[in-house]
Symmetry: C2
Subunit: 211 residues, 2 copies
């Protein structure tokens, strides 16, 4: 059971507030100019905190830029840990992503879009994003292997399944970020995800033939 934000001690509320302020202004500055050309000092000055405090809140300059993405995957991990796993496994993995998406608060998609657009054109962000994704994937495989307790697909197969979904997810993201601004809301992202996920059985069929 989670407490309301209002009921958190003042200290925690302040931390969350500065955290959010950092994400907002950082994404704003990065979007207005460029990830690399914006210095940490600028961000820190804008939010009026010390650089030292920044690194107590985020692990790196990249970390703050990818905050929305990490938020999503954190929700994904908690969902995949509790979701019933009867029936189609890939379907469960996909559904967990839709559910995680729904749990994001208002305004998340704006930040996420900014974050993704930056990541697409900034090598350092691409790298960090991919690493985070692979860490999540490894965690999911561990969780699923644990929950399914040996009765089902092996470690390797689970990982391939996950990576297949992630590949589709990235395709959907690419389509979303490169579409025109009017079509960059959450519903549109969901549509792109459905389209991309639909390609998975096609590929499966492609692999299965000629064998």
């Amino acid at each position: 059971m989670q407490k309301n934000p209002e009921e958190l001690p003042l200290r925690e509320r302040k931390k969350l507030r500065t955290r959010q302020a950092l994400v907002d202004t950082a994404l704003e500055l990065f979007t207005a100019r460029d990830f690399t050309s914006v210095t940490l000092d600028e961000i820190v000055d804008a939010v009026e905190i010390s650089k030292r405090t920044f690194f107590r809140t985020f692990t790196s300059k990249e970390d703050v830029a990818l905050a929305p993405e990490k938020e999503l995957w954190a929700a994904y991990l908690t969902d995949i840990g509790t979701r019933p796993l009867t029936g189609h496994l890939l379907g469960a993995c996909e559904d967990a992503l839709f559910t995680a998406l729904e749990q994001m608060t208002d305004g998340w998609e704006r930040r996420f879009l900014a974050s993704r657009s930056l990541a697409d054109r900034t090598p350092a962000l691409t790298a960090h994003s991919l690493r985070h994704c692979s860490e999540v994937s490894a965690n999911v495989v561990r969780i699923l292997a644990d929950r399914l307790a040996g009765q089902s697909p092996g470690h390797t197969e689970l990982r391939l399944l996950l990576d297949l979904m992630l590949a589709a997810w990235h395709c959907a993201l690419e389509a979303w970020t490169s579409s025109d601004a009017a079509q960059q809301d959450r519903a549109a992202l969901v549509r792109h995800m459905h389209e991309a996920f639909a390609a998975i059985p096609t590929v499966a069929a492609l692999v299965a033939q000629d064998r």
Copy 2:
């Protein structure tokens, strides 16, 4: 048609020599201690070149540590650009990887093993490695889409196929690097690759059922 190294101008030979020396000593130092704790100055002093020259040869500290991997993927790209694409597409992609592997010179597997072991336990290297992989993947998709000229699977499907193979490749690598030292030669890697690639049809079947 490639010239022999002996027939290259002296300047080029020297560059190649320092490049190789950098990779060797860097991997040695990183392996003996740790990627992060070894400074660039140490490497540069050991090879007796200036830091400035280092950055004319490699783009970053990570770059030199991942040199063996990049070598492999460069060979992969040239192969996939010329290989006949009749029949099974996934098979062609897999075969290109075996071919690229065969083209690596003697001693490559030692360096590659060191590089991979480091990457497995160094977040910064993991990130760079994944980014490079995704760049290669994007290139391969572009090349294949170009060569197949619309008659065959779409952009999305190609990408899923590639990422599926890459996922299997990473599984094979993981098995290889975590096996005991006596089993870490190139033949063993090939065996792990065959095993991992064999999981792909299994996953395809898993996806196809319940649909």
